[in-house]
Symmetry: C2
Subunit: 456 residues, 2 copies
């Protein structure tokens, strides 16, 4: 069995912890059996490995997730990167084309597509075998997982099924994606099932879908034409349109961790970070990534989350409606974890006159890492080293930089930094447009300088 793990999702649903640069599946808000914090993607990857040690897992993600995937899953993770953010239908086709074209898997191979964000126990993964068997027995094109609804949600797909005698699967007789509240209520009453977003199908069916779109099974061609594929969910394009569906019922625990309301139910500790709590708080979670305290008094059924990007104060139920409000906010990311370390924006100050601005950051480069050799067209930078030391590269010249050193980088000049032991500095940017995109990168090989240190 080939497993495609869909690492998609908007950066807004767990705002302010998630942002464009830090998707929700990488937030370390869960705990493994030993009590170590882990992210959604780490949990599900670990669970898949436990349940099916021999399965090939391919992670379908965006290029921006390359850093966190390598950081959290390790270098062994096989990945396919989408050229742009679209929807589950194009993402599944691209991953399928990768398996068929690049990995040359057989037509009869079974592909299981799993979403990254449900919180489930180990029995969920045991269902994959039953789904494979149901696919073979039924001759259906797709076998789905039928989750028992816990409330009439308008966010899911609903399946009406007919049991097949002597079998553990049901044939899907009707499918309704994201129905209105009234229909959802009726479907729940009539024993309808949520589509859990797991798709088990044969490679030849995926081949047919790809051929329908671009006439041939070529990964490179699909990659090129990616932006012309329908920007739609696999459910709209296939589940709702396809007559040949079966599902395996699933009675176990299944929580969509896409909202604060559902995610906090899975968190072991109610508080994270610098939190002072009055004794009268109930069913309230407070997560604070800032250096200043959050004081929480007399709160009921609330979630409070503070990060460099913003502060959410929400009734837990109301947090499901957050997305539309967060979309009004058009701020740049104030915190990012990168391959080389991390940065935090400390201050953004437009000048009182003229078009000049300044932006101040705290950067931390990890031991054995380096910043790319780069230049900016629209800004000067001043770096003040506040901790550790590194090698500073300016226009081809290398010098040692230690705590207390001040480095001036005029616009247009190439610069870089590498460190064996880790280095922190305050960067003051001065210019007209102070954006991450104002950067030109140049090749530079730091390997001989960094040898002997752990670059893992």
């Amino acid at each position: 069995m080939k497993i495609i793990l869909l690492s998609g999702g908007s950066g807004k649903r767990l705002w302010p912890l998630s942002n464009e640069a830090r998707s929700k599946q990488f937030l370390k808000v869960l705990q493994d059996e030993e009590g170590n914090s882990e992210s959604m993607i780490q949990r599900i990857y670990r669970q898949i490995r436990q349940s099916r040690p021999d399965a090939d897992v391919l992670i379908a993600a965006s290029e921006a997730q390359s850093d966190p995937i390598r950081r959290q899953i390790g270098a062994q993770a096989e990945t396919v990167f989408e050229p742009s953010r679209r929807h589950t239908y194009p993402a599944i086709l691209l991953a399928g084309a990768y398996l068929l074209d690049k990995k040359q898997i057989g037509e009869k191979e079974v592909i299981a597509v799993l979403p990254v964000d449900p919180y489930v126990e180990q029995d969920y993964f045991e269902k994959l075998g039953e789904m494979e068997q149901a696919l073979a027995d039924s001759g259906a094109q797709v076998c789905l997982l039928g989750v028992r609804p816990t409330y009439p949600s308008e966010k899911y797909g609903y399946m009406t099924g007919e049991p097949v005698e002597g079998k553990n699967y049901c044939r899907v007789t009707a499918y309704a994606e994201k129905p209105g509240l009234e229909t959802a209520r009726r479907l729940v009453e009539e024993g309808g099932r949520w589509n859990g977003g797991v798709f088990v199908m044969r490679a030849c069916f995926v081949r047919e879908l790809i051929e329908k779109e671009i006439g041939q099974v070529s990964f490179d061609r699909l990659y090129e034409q990616y932006d012309r594929l329908p920007c739609n969910s696999f459910d709209y394009e296939v589940s709702e349109k396809n007559a040949s569906l079966v599902y395996i019922p699933y009675e176990g625990e299944w929580k969509d961790m896409g909202t604060w309301n559902t995610l906090t139910e899975r968190m072991e500790k109610p508080d994270g970070g610098f939190v002072v709590r009055g004794e009268a708080c109930r069913n309230t979670h407070v997560i604070n990534e800032l250096a200043i305290p959050v004081v929480a008094l007399g709160l009921r059924d609330m979630v409070v989350v503070a990060s460099a990007d913003g502060i959410l104060v929400s009734d837990k139920h109301a947090s499901s409606y957050m997305q539309r409000y967060v979309e009004q906010i058009d701020n740049r990311p104030m915190y990012e974890k990168r391959q080389w370390g991390e940065y935090k924006v400390l201050d953004i100050a437009p000048c009182r006159a003229g078009k000049e601005n300044s932006l101040t950051k705290h950067l931390h480069v990890e031991a054995g890492r380096s910043l790319s050799y780069q230049a900016h067209e629209l800004r000067d930078e001043v770096w003040t080293i506040i901790d550790g030391k590194g090698l500073f590269l300016l226009d081809g010249e290398i010098r040692e930089a230690v705590r207390g050193d001040v480095l001036y980088i005029p616009k247009g000049h190439k610069h870089g930094m590498a460190t064996r032991d880790g280095v922190d500095f305050i960067e003051v940017q001065l210019g007209t447009e102070l954006v991450e995109e104002d950067i030109e990168r140049f090749p530079w090989d730091w390997d001989e300088f960094l040898t002997g240190t752990d670059r893992a």
Copy 2:
């Protein structure tokens, strides 16, 4: 009539907007008749001036309030500064000694002491005349204001009174300062009155109190011995002990603005700063002084306040119990308004090894102002000018500093800055102990450089 306006109060009760450096009475959270924002002290000073244009007003405050008083009330404000923070009893005696000794007021003059923090309408000040009359008619030592209680608070003093025939005042027959809840309930039922904290008395009575403490009426002596005076409220020392009290009943609006719960009732707008609010919030105030957004969803009866010092998320009623939780927090002030401008702490970073630290600030020096000529024993500083320009003074040498300049100040070196048009810079401090107290100030006269600009 001489009016003493007591500008006391802890910095914690309106945390995180108030801190040691920014007392609640200076927060501009109210609005005047024209819709301009004003602080508690501005409002009450304006109301006194409207009601009694001829009264002499003396503001009793701490030295730390000198800057904000001059900024908010203006240079005409007469002030007396306490040598240390104590309580209302020593503060009233010191202000009284100032009037008797330094201003040589007559024995028969009437002194009215007013607290800075009740939210009242103009009729409150009209009562001062009635209180003066009641003092004369009754021969009592102190005339108080008897506020009609709205609930059985444990925070106030309660007066039981006996009406005097044909007069509008009552003789106080029993006085209970901060009783328990049960007693408070009984007193409210029996028609008891809150002591509104207004004391009208003759100068000779204040003289007696001072003489009882230090044997003579000398402002300088009282100032010297200030720390030996009882650290107690005027209510404990006088109202509760003194048999000769009357009060004038007051039926008008009276709100103690010492808690977020009561203060928000007086705020015209529910939101301040960068706030995104879901439509389902009710009776909720959100004040955000940070540059990042606060998203508020589904909140009921809440107050949310975010500042550089911290974030409060509280049920309005529970906010009255804030003080004990905020006292657990021992952070340095992260924002201060000063005579020369303001600063914000952006980052505090201890080094991974050793005892070194770094602290990064954004400072703004206002047009026509200067930083004191100073030196630090335990830190180097790096200043990067990000806006405007100024004159930079280092060890007696003056040079112009403009946007983009980087100034390095090694420990022990004297430095200062003055500006005609305003200047902003990022300061990176590097050293072992990075505290405001590590400063030695030296005389320097900037006047000739700043001439021609408005220094008001």
